[in-house]
Amino acid sequence: MRRVAHARPLRAATAASTANKRLHSAAGVAVVGVVVLALAGCAGGGASAADDKTLRVAMGSPGEAQIRVWESVAEQFEAANDGWKVDLNFQDDDMYQTIGLPNLLNGRNAPDVYFEWAGNRLATRNDDGFVADLTPFVEDGPLTGVLEDDQYGAVTADGRILMVPHIADVTNVLWYNTEILDAEGLEAPTSWDELLEVCDTLAADGIVPIASGNKDLWAAGNWLAHLVSRVVGHEEYDKALSGQADFDTPEWKTAFGYVEDLAEHKCVNESVNAIDDNEGAQLFFQGKAAMHAIGSWLVSWAIDEAPDLDFDFVNLPAMPGEADPDSVIGVITGYVVNAKSGHDKQEKAAEFLALLSSAENTQAFIEAEAVPVTATASASIDERTIRLNSLLSEAPVVISPPDTGYDLDVADAFYRSLAEVLGGRTSADDAVTQLQEQTSK
C-alpha cells in the first residue's frame, strides 16, 4: 500500500498533500473542539446564575395536586414581577433527598429556593454556604408577619433564620382500623402492656397487628426510633445519634429489648423487612392489618386509596418508665434561599416565599391535601390532620427522625440494627453492640 502511494504522479501527490493538510486542520479543529467541550463541561463549578431574572425553585415531587398549586404560585409571581420567570424543578423524592439536591446546588444553574428538612440536613447546607440569612427579610421585609416568631425556632441557628417552614409532619403515630379493633373488642393501645395485649389477641385471631413495610429501613426505623427515645430519654437519644455518647449502655439495651418484645409477640407482619412502605400501607388499607405505624401523610393517602376505611390514630403508646411519655416524633420541612444567589434574587425569593404562604395559596395547598404551617383550622382540613398538627405543636418534646435530624451514616446503622431486632434476627444486646461498633468506625 505504501509503495503504491509513493509511486503516484506529482499532481496526485500534491492533491494528497492538500488532503493531508485538511486532515491536519480537521484534527486541529477536533482537538480544539474537545478542549472547548472539556472546559465547558468543567466550567460549572457551582456557579449560580445569580444575576438573571429567573427564580429557580427545586424540590422533590410533591404530587400532581400540589404541583398545580406551585405552578399557580409561579404564575402569580410572574404576573406581579414584570420580566421575572419562575423555573420549577420537581425531582424524584429519593433522588432529591440523596444526590439530587447536592448536584443542583453545585450546578451551573443552582436553585435560588430549595426544599429542605430542618435538623442536621439544614445545618449541613448552612455549613456548606448554601443557606442565606432570612432574618432581615423576616424582621423588616417581604417575610414580615408571614409566620409567628416562634415558628422559626427550629430553623434558627446562631440568631440567623435559615428557612421558611412550610409543613410540619408528625412522622409516626399508630394508625388503627376502628372496625377491626371494635370487632375484636379491643381499644386502641395507649400503654406498652396494652399494645402487647392487643398484639397477642390479634395475632391469635390471624390478623396482622401492625403492618410495616421496612425494606428501605426508614418506615419502622422512624417508629422504633421514637420508641427507644421514650426509653433512653430524648437527651440521651440526641447525644448518641449525634456521636456525643455511646449506644452500648444498659439503657439502650433495655430500649432495644422492647423492640425484641414486639418481635416475640408477633406484633408486625412477617414480611416487615421484605416489603416497602407502600406495600406495608396496602396491608392496612385492605384490612389485613389492624394497625399501621407511619406518619401524618397517611390521611390523604388512605382517603385516596381506601375511601371506605374507618381509621384513626393514637400517639406511640407510653413506654414503661418516665422518659418523655408524651413526646412526638416529627419534622419541619420548608424552603431555603440559596446564599449564593445575588441579593436582589434573595429578596425576590423571599417575596416568592411570602406569596407561597398567602391565605389564598395556603387554602390551595389544603385542597391539594397538604396542610401548611400557615393553615388555621377549617372545614376543608381533615379533622385527624388538625389533631395531628395539635399533637405536634403541643408536644412537650419533639423527637427528630434519625434520617433527617442526624448524620445519615449513623441513622442508617441505627435503622439496620433496629430492623434486625424487629425481624428476630439479632438479639437486643448484640444489636446494640454492633451498632456501637459501626458508629465508632
Binding site: R2, R3, A5, H6, A16, A19, N20, L23, H24, A26, A27, A30, V34, G46, T98, I99, P102, N103, L105, N106, D127, D128, K215, D216, N269, E270, S271, V272, N273, A274, I275, E279, Q282, L283, K288, L408, D409, D412, R416, A419, E420, G423, R425, K441
Partner: protein, 328 residues
C-alpha cells in the same frame, strides 16, 4: 518508509476514542482520584490516601457482597447459560413452532430490568403474591415463604428472575451458533446411529465452544455489573444477604454521601472484573495454543470423531472437543 496519510487512521478512530475518553477514561481517572479522598460530593474533599481502600478491605459487608455476587454468578451460569443452551438445543431440534418458542423465551429480554423487577416483586409478595397464592391454593401453606425477606431464599429468588430474563438471551446466542454447525457433521453422526441427545452434547455443543466461552464470560462479567434487579427487589436486604458490590457502593455514594469510599469500592470492583477478563483471555489463549499442535492430526481424524461419539455416549467425556473445534 513514510505513511502517506499518517493522521488518517487516528482520525478514523478519533470519534470512538473521544467518546471512550469522556464516557469511560475520564470518569475512571476521576473515580480513582475521588477514592483517595473523603468527600460527600459537594463540600471540600479531604485527601486521605489509601484509607478508603483499607476500610473497604476490612468492611465485612463489602466482603459479603463479593461472596453474594459470586454465588449469584455461579447460580446464573446454570439458570442462564446452561438453561439457555438447553433451550437452544430444543429450539434447534423442534421442527414446528420453533419461532414461537424462541419468541416466547426471548420476550423477557426485551423488557426493561426495572419493569421485570417490579413485576417479580408482585409475584414474590408474601401477602398478595402469585407464588404464595398458588402454594396456598394447592394446600401447600407450609411451603409459603417471605421469599425476598428470608435470608435463605432472597438471593436464590433473585437468581431465578435473572434466569427467567437472560436464559432467552443466551438461547439466542447459542441458537445462532448452532445454526452454523455444518450439517454434514450432524448427518454423519445420524448415519452412524447417534441419537439427537448424543448429537447435541457430543457434536453440536463442542463445535460451538467459542460461543459458550463468550457466554460464560458475559455471564460472569455481567454478574459483577448487576444492579437494577437487586436494587428494586431487595435493595441489598434482608440484612445484606443480597448485597452485591454495586448496591453497596450506590448505597454509600448516593444515600450516605460517601463519594470517596464508594469510589474506592468502584475501583476495587473494576479491578476484579478486569482481572477476571484478563484471566479468561489468558486461559483462552493457552487453550488455543494447546490446540494448534494437534491441528494436523485432528484433520486426519475428523471423520472418525463422529463415529467415536456414537461409541462413547457419555456427555461428560470431552475428549473429542478439540478435534471438533478444529473442524470448524
Amino acid at each position: 518508509m513514510r505513511a502517506h496519510r499518517p493522521l488518517a487512521p487516528y482520525l478514523f478512530i478519533a470519534p470512538a476514542l473521544i467518546v471512550f475518553g469522556f464516557a469511560v477514561l475520564v470518569p475512571f481517572v476521576f473515580t480513582g482520584a475521588f477514592s483517595l479522598t473523603e468527600w460527600d460530593g459537594y463540600s471540600e474533599a479531604v485527601f486521605v490516601g489509601v484509607d478508603n481502600y483499607v476500610r473497604a478491605f476490612g468492611d465485612t459487608v463489602f466482603q459479603q457482597s463479593f461472596v453474594n455476587v459470586v454465588i449469584y454468578i455461579l447460580v446464573t451460569l446454570v439458570v442462564e447459560v446452561l438453561v439457555g443452551l438447553v433451550l437452544a438445543g430444543i429450539a434447534i431440534s423442534v421442527t414446528r413452532g420453533s419461532l414461537w418458542f424462541r419468541v416466547a423465551i426471548f420476550t423477557p429480554v426485551m423488557l426493561p430490568m426495572v419493569v421485570v423487577a417490579v413485576l417479580w416483586s408482585f409475584i414474590y409478595n408474601p401477602d398478595f403474591g402469585l407464588v404464595n397464592g398458588a402454594l396456598r391454593a394447592l394446600g401447600l401453606e407450609d411451603w409459603t415463604r417471605v421469599w425476598l425477606g428470608d435470608e435463605q431464599t432472597a438471593l436464590l429468588a433473585i437468581c431465578l428472575v435473572s434466569g427467567w430474563v437472560y436464559a432467552g438471551f443466551y438461547m439466542t446466542i447459542f441458537y445462532a451458533a448452532l445454526r452454523q454447525v455444518p450439517t454434514e457433521v450432524v448427518e454423519a453422526a445420524r448415519l452412524d446411529g447417534a441419537r439427537e441427545n448424543t448429537i447435541f452434547w457430543r457434536v453440536r455443543v463442542p463445535i460451538i465452544r467459542n460461543s459458550i466461552e463468550v457466554a460464560i464470560l458475559l455471564c460472569v462479567t455481567g454478574g459483577f455489573q448487576s444492579f437494577d434487579l437487586f436494587y428494586v427487589l431487595t435493595n441489598g436486604g434482608p440484612y445484606h444477604s443480597t448485597e452485591i458490590p454495586t448496591t453497596y457502593l450506590v448505597q454509600s455514594v448516593f444515600h450516605t454521601g460517601q463519594v470517596g469510599y464508594g469510589s474506592a469500592m468502584a475501583v476495587v470492583l473494576t479491578a476484579v472484573v478486569v482481572t477476571i477478563g484478563l484471566i479468561a483471555t489468558a486461559i483462552r489463549r493457552r487453550g488455543d495454543s494447546d490446540d494448534r499442535p494437534s491441528r494436523k492430526s485432528a484433520r486426519n481424524t475428523t471423520r472418525n470423531t463422529a463415529r467415536n461419539t456414537v461409541a462413547q455416549p457419555d456427555p461428560a467425556d470431552t475428549a473429542s472437543v478439540p478435534t471438533l473445534e478444529v473442524v470448524r
